[in-house]
Amino acid sequence: MAALRVLVAKVGLDGHDRGVKVVARLLRDAGIEVIYTGLFQTPETVAAAAVDEDVDVIGLSMLSGAHMTLAPLVVQAVRARGADIPVVLGGIVPNQDVEELHAAGIAAVLGPGAPADEVVRTITTAARGERRHQGV
């Protein structure tokens, strides 16, 4: 089986890139191919890159509180391109928001403090198309 390909992305104006870089390295160490978009992307640029790169999962890192607005827009932008790439969200996401995010099509949510194996497991599970309810 070919290695999983994951696009990790920062959407919007949030410049906190410690988490996204750590997660990128964790995934790479687990044998996953990782592409990083860089900062200040829009939902459209992320969706376009994900489709172009033919990735299995999109990982969004959001720490500014804009996840309720921007994460669903990424899902919509992916679907608008006729793709069904699962979107996993990590960062500062309160428990209260998780249900609504699932309803908006987010495959899984990783809260602060998630250990490496859980990150890898969540991404792998999402790639297999299974929704996982993962709280903070």
Binding site: L13, D17, K21, L26, V34, G65, M68, V136
Partner: protein
Amino acid sequence: MSTGNNGRVSNPREQWQQAFEESRLRGDGFQTMSGIPLEPVYGPADGEFPGVYPYTRGPYASMYRSKLWTMRMFAGFGTALDTNLRFKEIIKAGGDGLSTAFDMPTLLGLDSDDPMALGEVGRCGVAIDTLADMRDLFADIDLGNITTSMTINSPAAVLLAMFVAQAETAGVPRARLGGTLQNDILKEYQAQKEFVFPPRQSMRLVRDTVAFTANEMPRWHSISISGYHIREAGSTAAEELAFTLGNGFAYVELARQAGLPVDSFAPRLSFFFNAHIDFFEEIAKYRAARRIWARWMKERYGATNERSMQLRFHTQTAGVSLTAQQPEVNLIRTAIEALAGVLGGTQSLHTNSMDEALALPTEKAARLALRTQQVIAYETNVAHVADPLGGSHFVEALTDEMERRAEEIFARIDEMGRGSMLEGCITGIEENWFQGRIADSAYELERAFNRGERTIVGVNRFLEGNEEDNLDILKITNEDERKQRERLSGVKSERNEPAVVDALDRLAKDAVDPEVNLMPALIDASLAYATVGELMNTMAGVFGRHVEVPTI
């Protein structure tokens, strides 16, 4: 050793004694709870003393016996009116300095109606688009009588201009304004990543604000050289120390190149450090910072005013040390970190709220964070004696080791800049050297956590109680975003459009000539209600925009 009044060489204790006797004290009869009288400082006569070069033990001879640290709580969310209410709450609760957090669009110089601002308006801080918002933000607060800190970097010159415009409209002359502009653009490229213009063009704006405040705002701190974000981005303590002071040396060289004598601006530079959870390492870091700064300012940059050599700093407890699991435990972490800041001799302190790994703090959580400082200040008596850990074999050795590690990094930066710390910092940014080191250190720490070598209570050990987490958290709705956009469109429809166009034209012209200071053009444009976005876009038209090459 220097020469005392009577011409003889005096030892450090005598120098300290003289400075101490000249200091005004906030009280007398400092003693322990059971009545043992306490000296202001302890140590052998020929050792280091606070208020005496190289200031390892503190910038002032009397330290907290003259004045406790400023309990400066950072706040800002939603609209300017919301934050204004929080400010008044902080003043009522006994806080004595305001610290303004701006939202992401403002930090990046975008207006609230910019498409990129979607979902971010008023979320991580207050949204400021025009002078009208500045007026709301400081309504009924006497800016001549309180110090105001503004955490803003890329658009720092713009926000300073709006602040001056607001204060003067309200009748407070700029010379009376006290406060701090963060204005530390180098660490944005290295760590926090809220950049707009390319590094060299950004440094021109820094130069303009330093020159402007040196000439016209004697009470203003033009740059708060910040290690906080470098540490939050994942650096080690020694890297935080060295990158921050290295940036400080770069700003000193920048201002000197602009023709400012070192003692004309250096006394107004201040620092901002993290207080992380490794208690003694943090204290050693602050002590080493003071000693290094004093020596470099005196020996390399020729400062003669002692205030240029005395490093003063603000501290914030470590946001990254907070956990979403069992969030009440964050109160304990924050208390320990705050104590490190105080024992390390900080001049002001922000304590994080227990709910900040989840959201922006609720009013109750923010009040508890302030109470933490009040317990340290008024119940523990730890502020009675300056540098109480000075002389500990352990703390002194750790201080020396932090200094040694920092010097190794300075040598590398100096080498990258071929003898210039300014060029070294810019080159290091352009070559991703700082960014790479920070990412490496962050990853190392994460691996230690994943291997179980690093314990985080409630996260990888002691998990009982995690399922009970149910803290009330602050909800910010998109309603604020809608209100702010309406506010902006209202201001735009009422302003004198030709005056805005003229003011922006002048700004563009001034920006083309690198010798011109942009502050006067920015203040005039603010008074004409030009928006933050318009001012930044006008400058970007001349300066260009910075794009970071993404690296993992």
